[in-house]
Symmetry: C2
Subunit: 412 residues, 2 copies
């Protein structure tokens, strides 16, 4: 298997504020054709460090991909350092220069010496055109190692990589093809899930199974390797189906969809229309549902009743009930769900009320207590949860729990 190394170049990536994310997309593309990423490095605009990193990479990796450091400013050193490491002269490429000049002039700018630097090309390198920016990429063969120098911005380096680099890499990786599937699981603990499925996936030694845990769900990444994509897909689909069957209702998607996507598709299919009433989640359930384009087909709207007045004024929850049971109670959750259903004429009303903290908890109703309410034409019900985590996590988990309850109750 070919070994690749990714180098992210730029001092902003060594500050406390920015992380290199280009490498995630590049890794996905490289993995898809059976190329393994075995090292990632982040270097600043620091010639000595970049020189060491490049020399080391040329000794240890078959494919080296760098992002950044190709721009027009003094700090952009990739071109120069690479030429030095490989003992290549830099020559001015007049075609690039002319393109740059036209691009600048069409925008009313004048060419500067700084900009000319972007037209320097190490001898023997292939220029990768950049329709979305000024800095072209570069590709070279150095003693059988393939080196790809890409600009930093994703909207520039992604099309460049797909169009100018992937075809060559596909040839290099000599017919190894990878097919992937992503299962999304919720409502079950990590170790309990692994006990269920390990006996199945362990039989598929040609498939890499990676289990990752996020705030409120589990991702099972499957990657099968074969000589053709069709063969790899057949293998990965076989395992995905077995796992999906075993996980049953815990698995809400076997194709990597978001929970709100799955719910939206099924609500539309059934002709149901949803409305939400939210207290502690503050609009997060509605916000997640409306991330999906076309949500207006099945989502009417929401009331965020953050105060008791809003619960009374907008959702017809009575003062007596709030005094009697408290705003964080199963009774109020049901009343909120009924209220929003009545106000909007939705098929299903779903509500969330709880204490996200850090303040506001008590012995009887501690921080993390959340009630989900559901109302339909038949009646109303509620579910009590105690969610761990800080304010942000409790809100995220409460929103996921509300969406998941709708799926389990109405959409299986």
């Amino acid at each position: 298997m070919l070994k690749a190394e990714i180098i992210a170049i730029g001092s902003e990536l060594l500050t406390p504020y920015r992380v290199d994310t280009n490498s995630l997309w590049l890794t996905e593309r490289l993995n898809s054709i059976g190329i393994h990423v075995h090292l990632k490095t982040v270097v600043g605009d620091d010639e000595a460090r970049l020189e060491e990193t490049l020399s080391h990479a040329l000794r240890h990796s078959d494919i080296i991909v760098s992002t950044g450091g190709l721009g027009p400013t003094e700090d952009d050193i990739t071109r120069k350092v690479f030429a030095r490491v490989t003992n290549r002269q830099l020559k001015l490429d007049y075609e690039i220069l002319e393109n740059l000049r036209q691009r600048m002039e069409s925008r009313g700018f004048k060419m500067t010496p700084n900009n000319e630097r972007q037209a320097l090309v190490p001898r023997g390198a292939t220029v990768l055109p950049n329709p979305n920016g000024t800095a072209p990429g570069l590709k070279l063969d150095e003693d059988g190692k393939l080196v790809i120098l890409l600009p930093g911005p994703p909207r520039e380096n992604q099309p460049m990589f797909d169009i100018c680099v992937m075809p060559e890499l596909e040839k290099l990786s000599r017919g190894i093809r990878i097919a992937t599937r992503l299962l999304k699981v919720t409502g079950i603990g990590e170790s309990q899930m692994d006990d269920m499925i390990a006996p199945i996936y362990q039989q598929y030694t040609d498939i890499t199974t990676t289990v990752l845990f996020t705030n409120s769900e589990i991702e099972i990444h499957l990657a099968a390797q074969a000589e053709t994509l069709t063969q790899a897909q057949a293998r990965v689909n076989e395992l995905a189906e077995k796992l999906e069957e075993k996980l049953d209702l815990y698995c809400y998607s076997s194709r990597g969809e978001m929970l709100e996507e799955v719910i939206g598709r099924k609500l539309k299919l059934k002709g149901y229309r949803l409305a939400t009433a939210e207290s502690c989640t503050g609009g997060l359930v509605a916000e997640r549902l409306t991330r999906i384009a076309g949500a207006s087909d099945y989502f009417i709207g929401s009331v965020v009743s953050y105060s008791n007045e809003a619960k009374m004024g907008l959702l017809n929850v009575t003062k007596e009930m709030l005094d009697r049971s408290g705003a964080v109670s199963g009774e109020v959750a049901e009343a909120m769900a009924r209220g929003i259903k009545e106000q909007t004429g939705a098929t299903i009303g779903v509500s969330v009320t709880g204490i996200a903290g850090p303040g506001g908890g008590s012995d009887a109703v501690p921080v993390g207590t959340v009630y989900i309410g559901l109302a339909d034409d038949v009646g109303a019900s509620n579910k009590r949860l105690i969610l761990p985590g800080d304010r942000e996590l409790i809100r995220a988990r409460a929103a996921s729990a509300a969406l998941e309850l709708v799926r389990r109750r109405y959409l299986l």
Copy 2:
């Protein structure tokens, strides 16, 4: 200035799904005492690669901090590889072993040989206790270089680093102290802003000024270096004040606060209460306001009127107006703002209606068209924006624009 290098260890960090974020927090801590991070590396559970990376780090850095690879599984190789690179024997530490045994037994587990591995210590290393997990950290001096091996989870490595490592690093960095300030700016373009402030910050050659752009705002990070923290703070405060004065209303915080924090504080101070009516943002404005604990002091609630029925039923927008002007119009934005103000009794009603796309646009009302409405006791007004970006970006920018309009109109 001392040079540090951060190594993140773990194969999951070489997948397309996970990025190393430990290094951001560590960089912030190191920078705060004048230690510069000059390289970051991500290696998998791969002994050969880690060995090379550690050897290289010992040659080029004064301080080496690694995270991960200290756990009980076969894959956790940090301890072993480090001992090999530095020619140190691994010895079993009976105190760690006993702590592990007690910890496991108190939770009803039995000690396994895998767990015993966590009690191996390279000769000469100092053990860093881990009150929040099983794997202790390690600290060693190797030929004058300080090496810190930390476990991967932030809730384990952060207190460990602060308690057991920072005091020693503060001594090593010999009285270099750094003070930082973060200015947040919105409503102005990048180059226009830089033209305004560059003549000021360029005079402060002892202060590092880093300008970063996010979706809808600009961050200006200032870091001043001096012999005492008081001196450094005085310098950075002087520059921050000059920049804040120059940027005037464009600068909504000079202390790194979020826009919703600033708005919340000022609403509370003035005794105003806010309510929102959202269409294309789907609840995002309410969700952002309620990220701040205590938001109920100034935020009553929101109506997410994703459908026209919800605009009519929950906000009293008339069918005639919707037919006449269309849901995405200044007239409807004002009616939504008035509607939510009346329904909730808020001091200020703010509304957002627009087309986030990708579908739904027309020549007259293209994707990205957003109207913000404001209503108070005096009257109502609206502002039209054309926002660039995809669905997610347009929603994020529309929410920021709504919050910023409230700040500019009512809270300066």
